[in-house]
């Protein structure tokens, strides 16, 4: 048997890229944010993260088991969904059991309804974590509140998007380091940027979506605030913009694959975020913006598809 020749079809060389490796990179990139969130919001944030990740992975395994599909837990996509969902949730004052219950329901919605009812990984129409975040925002009144950090006093911790007077606004440095109210993973911009650089270096994502998304919100806010750079910077650093732009809007399945498509996608998301923030009834619009652009994604993708040239230079 030792001199048997193995035959395999092409491709014989591949880059070693796999869903598992990409997802592992995303998890690593989210590590600084997770640690920062745990420091800023205390041990309760770790319980929320554990509940979301465990129930997302659990529901994925369960659904595959029940419907007798190939087990897809190993590709880590459910873990990423769970972690992203948790990082989008605030630590609020309520019974911990209820918080865990709400996390489990949110994960159920993300994995079963958004992901698997549409055909599993690669087939979901919208980002499961974003959809579940919006679902929980509407489903549970308590989840619409703003989580307050445990490491600083409450005066400087209000989220800039819901305060009325300029004196209450936290400083730019506080915003950058994450010493303010908000969801677990959205506050520490520094940690999110570290993750962004890691993803860029590992070539998991390209710069287009995050830069254009954040840039659009900054420029639009600049116009709205009468060219007050500090104010526009405050708006940009507030809310879930960095978390959304870097980790949620860049999801492969629900964002365009061409460079121009990504720019259109990110510009649209930025404009919707800006419009909801300034003219909508909700203080924050990043989740809704990404959700809406996710739905438009197939159209953007088909508009910006590379024209394939066939023999004779005719466009196919």
């Amino acid at each position: 048997m030792s001199n048997q020749v193995k035959l395999a079809v092409s491709p014989h060389i591949h880059s070693g890229n796999s869903t598992r490796r990409i997802m592992l990179d995303v998890l690593i990139a989210l590590l600084p944010t997770t640690i920062a969130g745990a420091i800023i919001f205390g041990w309760k944030s770790l319980i929320i993260i554990a509940a979301c990740v465990a129930s997302c992975v659990g529901f994925e395994a369960l659904f595959n088991l029940i419907t007798k599909r190939r087990q897809t837990v190993g590709d880590l996509s459910a873990a990423v969904t769970g972690l992203l969902l948790a990082l989008n949730l605030p630590v609020v004052e309520q019974n911990l059991g209820i918080t865990i219950f709400q996390c489990v329901i949110g994960s159920l919605f993300a994995i079963i309804v958004v992901k698997f009812l549409f055909g599993g990984i690669g087939c979901n129409v919208v980002n499961p974590a974003i959809a579940a975040r919006v679902f929980m925002l509407i489903a549970f009144g308590s989840m619409a509140k703003v989580g307050l950090p445990v490491v600083v006093d409450t005066v400087s911790s209000a989220t800039p998007l819901s305060v009325e007077t300029a004196e209450q606004l936290p400083s730019i440095m506080d915003l950058f380091l994450g010493l303010r109210g908000g969801a677990i993973g959205e506050v520490c911009v520094l940690a999110l940027l570290i993750g962004f650089v890691y993803l860029l270096v590992r070539k998991v994502i390209t710069w287009h979506i995050p830069v254009v998304f954040i840039g659009t919100v900054f420029v639009a806010s600049l116009f709205m605030e009468g060219f007050d750079v500090m104010m526009a910077l405050t708006m940009t650093l507030s809310g879930g913009l960095f978390l959304g732009a870097i980790f949620m809007a860049t999801d492969y399945v629900t964002s365009p694959s061409t460079a121009w498509g990504k720019i259109i996608f990110a510009f649209g998301a930025g404009m919707i975020t800006f419009l909801i923030r300034y003219f909508g009834t909700y203080p924050e619009g990043v989740s809704f913006a990404i959700l809406l652009m996710n739905i438009l994604n197939p159209y953007i993708d088909s508009w910006t598809r590379h024209k394939i040239l066939v023999a004779g230079g005719k466009k196919a």
Binding site: N95, I98, F101, I105, L117, F135, I138, A139, F140, G141
Partner: protein, 233 residues
């Protein structure tokens, strides 16, 4: 079970041709009145009453009503019964009347009732039409009660207005709102599809014969094959 037997006509409305979950008719009252079990049950019974009465009268008059103006005739008949039902509910169940509001009057334009008049009562005998109306009405009521049970228990932690102990902190408020209605509706349709294994008659049982837009539709090719089959027969 043959579709033509009396029992078959009665039972097909419950699952196999459930007006809400298989034929996808009457979605407006389905989504709007299923936030609580009492309202949903009242809506179902009101629609059932109108459906049985209008089916019978339309079947009685089916030879008198001219083909070209049948839709206005059906609407007048249905509106008459709706008015009667509305007055009865207003007189004897004022709480239910307030709860259902405009949706009670809107039974007039509920497509289940007009749909059954067009698809069944206009072509069949009085007895069969009454059974069809009864079956469809029961199917409609059951679907509404099932939907409202899920929505009220999960969204409001109560059943038919009676609070369920220990459920209060665990309620999922979205269920009593419009998105929750859509969600539960979609999941119930999927469930019925699984139960009937997708064998529920969708196109075949509603042939193009008698369809007012058959003329336009055959040209587009959507119903083409079936019409040809029928002509061949």
């Amino acid at each position: 079970m043959k579709n033509n037997s009396n029992l078959g006509i009665l039972l097909k409305g419950i699952i196999k041709e459930n007006p809400v979950l298989v034929l996808i008719l009457g979605t407006c009252p389905t989504l709007a009145t299923t936030t609580n079990v009492v309202g949903a049950f009242g809506m179902g019974i009101a629609a059932l009453t109108v459906l049985v009465c209008s089916n019978m009268l339309i079947s009685l008059l089916r030879k008198i009503i001219p083909e070209t103006v049948r839709i206005p005739c059906y609407i007048v008949i249905i509106a008459g019964f709706v008015t009667i039902v509305e007055m009865i509910v207003h007189a004897y169940f004022p709480a239910l009347y307030d709860m259902l509001g405009v949706y009670l009057a809107l039974i007039t334009v509920n497509c289940i009732i007009l749909g059954r008049a067009e698809m069944f009562a206009g072509k069949n005998s009085v007895g069969k039409s009454a059974l069809d109306g009864l079956g469809m009405g029961i199917g409609f009521t059951l679907a509404l009660v099932a939907m409202s049970t899920v929505r009220e228990v999960l969204g409001n932690a109560s059943f038919a207005g009676i609070p369920i102990p220990f459920m209060e902190p665990f309620k999922i408020e979205i269920m009593t709102k419009a998105p929750g209605g859509m969600l539960v509706y979609g999941l119930l349709i999927a469930l019925v599809f699984v139960i009937t294994r997708g064998k529920a008659p969708l196109k075949k049982s509603f042939s193009c014969a008698g369809c007012p837009s058959a003329g336009h539709c055959t040209a587009s090719g959507a119903c083409n094959t079936e019409v040809k089959e029928e002509q061949a027969q």
